[in-house]
Amino acid sequence: MGSIFLTVLRMSLEASLLVAVVLGFRVIFRKAPKWLHCLIWTIVAVKLICPFAIERDWGLYSSLNYVIYAAKEEFQSEISPGQSMNLIITERSETEEGKTNHGDTISPEKNENDNTKQAGKNAAQDNIIEKAEYFNHVEYTPIESRFLRIMRICGYVWLGGAVLIAAYGLYSVIGMKRRLADAVQIDDRIFRSDRISTAFLFGIIRPGIYIPFGISDENLKQVREHELAHLRRGDHIAKVIAFLLVTVYWFNPVIWLAYLLYCRDMELACDERVIRDKDTEERKAYSSALVECSQQQNAFRVHSTIPVKFGELAVKKRVLNVLNKKKPAVVLMITAILFILITALLNMTKEHEIDLFYSPDIPDSYCQKVYEQYFADVKVPEKLDRAISEALITDSGESISYVTVDGKTYRYVLFQNYVSMSDESDVCYSACGGEGHLVLGFEEGERSAKVYLMGEPGDYRFENGFLVGGCAANPYVMLFEKDSSGNYIFKEQEGALDGELYEDSINELFPKEVAEKYWEIYDDTYVFNAVGKLIGKQCDEYAEGYLKAIGRTAKIKDFDDTFVTNDLSLSYGISDEVSNGLMAMYNEYNLLAATCGNIEVWENGIHCVYLTAWEGGCNGEGIVTYLKYEYDTGRIYQKDRYRVSGDSITCIEGNDRTDRLIEIPYEPEIHIPGVPDSYGGA
């Protein structure tokens, strides 16, 4: 609901800007025929109806998106009250090291009493399995940010309002239908009724013109002509659409204003249509009819199916419009039409959204375009392409494996079996790897091949149950040797240098043509990001293959933002003192020392999960749990819990590491001569 409302909000804001443009148009081209005013309103309608637009490379609304995005960011960085990633691990995991004597499942309450006594013993097999299953099913849903929660509530309020207005509309239509039941038909589609005060057009499929009995025969002719003009212009349908839009965008006063003004322009345009071929006398007669009818409160106008009776357009204005209507100057018409066309063009299309933070949302269609423009015509032999893949993977010290699932063969690169050669504890964070590359150009000789490409090997790790990782689009030159059977053997590769040397090194690395192509890609953020996405996609295919190979499902992501939103000090308000203390106590948890979430690692080949949980609100008071367990068996290696309050940390379970707090070693900032400070800083 929140996201729907956000879309509606965004659309209504964009349309509001457009309404401002239309208001300007109405002032500048006030002498233009009013059907042009109606025409430009239709652009507003389309903008409000259609959430999508054809894409283009330039646009109007990026700054607006930025404002919304910035507001969202600001909200998100605020503390989320009362919400925590509550894992409820505490009770359940008590079963841990000690339920041997109780063969069956132990209820949490029972547990509390005797867990300490049982500690240290081997767990019964079934308990272990039960636990393993439990942990494997722990779901980490990121906390809903305050912004999104507010948006969700707003969404329901919005929906409620829209339903109310729609219900009112429906109620009025039904009432009107009943009221018109005894209207007397006097001609085809023309009825007279004494239960209405205004002439109008009513109905959608078979619209009828309803005229009050009170109107004199003299004025009847004018009224009929006016309503017939509405009918021919299709105003009865346009007005229903306009009303529906007001129903949806009821919260935006600008849209109401637009509705009102549109209704006025519609009347004026209709008047103009009636008097188009009439002489001065007939115009005067028509004007008089307008005055007569409005004095009887019977000013004729389109009523359509919309029951909301807005004020009569000032009769004087309508009369003046009718009497003073002259053929508009050709220049005025052309300028006005041009203005409308340009407005339509600007608004029916959409720029590529500039994502100021990350660029995962580049549409696939655009990526395809970029591919076709820069890479499609580089026909790399299949053997060479495979050799590039292998070379990139080998660079990361692994090799490509294959797995066939449901008749489809996937490539994957296994990282998790990484076993240390030394006796020291070795931790492998990466579960799997991959690579992605796009070839900018290549030169092939009898015995060798030189490839210019963008790409990189990548790696993935499990974070919060997601498989997180990817690779970047870096420029490389690769050298291959060809053997007698036409196989490519990787010899060496060279990448570009960083910093100030980047430009020169690229120009040195690549032949002129390739370098030019590279700079074209590099200089255009959209294009560069599109290339990054194409390469990232290739890399993700390896990750997908890995998941198939190990028979696990997980979402593959570029990065996991829960680590940002679940920071203990930012989101839950623990003091800097406590935060620093926890980091010193549990530095092997890395980021998780002061953030909720979990990370899977392979420690000396054993698949372990590091998990940090927070139970408490956002005022910095609560219990933080550090849990380390084996993924497959659920065997718990470590479970330390601390009560955190203000600046104090108290151990309530497991090993007490607070002694490590005594001396937090002071680490001076290291300056390496010749290396700028920003170097290496993420």
């Binding site: 007397v184 209405i196 004007s287 004095q295």
Partner: protein
């Protein structure tokens, strides 16, 4: 009992009735469908309404009038409008749009404007 008041559409209906009475209600409904564009249910509703007001009587599905064309008094349609759906426009919207009836002075002014208008 005072002369019953009838409204314009009812008057049109009565015109048909005076011409054809006595008439079966089914036939009358058919006639109204052709002549007035009424649905059958509308005709029956109007018959019932006018019977209650003493304009006609409906006995054994035969409809006859109780008053003559000369006796009947046509009601002002304004009265009907005011009574049945006066103030249907929510006040806040009315205030928002500044909708108000044209005053006599304003109307006169515009009329003068129209009269004096000449094409340049």
């Amino acid at each position: 009992m005072a002369t019953p008041k009838i409204f314009e559409s009812e008057y049109r209906f009565c015109l048909l009735l005076w011409e054809k009475e006595p008439i079966g209600s089914g036939e009358l409904a058919k006639l109204c469908e052709q002549q007035l564009g009424w649905k059958k249910s509308t005709t029956y509703t109007v018959i019932k309404r006018l019977a209650e007001r003493g304009v006609l009587k409906n006995e054994n599905s035969v409809v006859t009038t109780l008053v003559s064309k000369e006796e009947v008094q046509c009601a002002e349609s304004r009265e009907f409008i005011d009574r049945t759906f006066g103030g249907s426009l929510p006040g806040f919207i009315a205030a928002f749009t500044g909708s108000k009836q044209l005053s006599a002075e304003e109307a006169d002014e515009i009329r003068r404007m129209i009269d004096s208008y000449r094409e340049d």
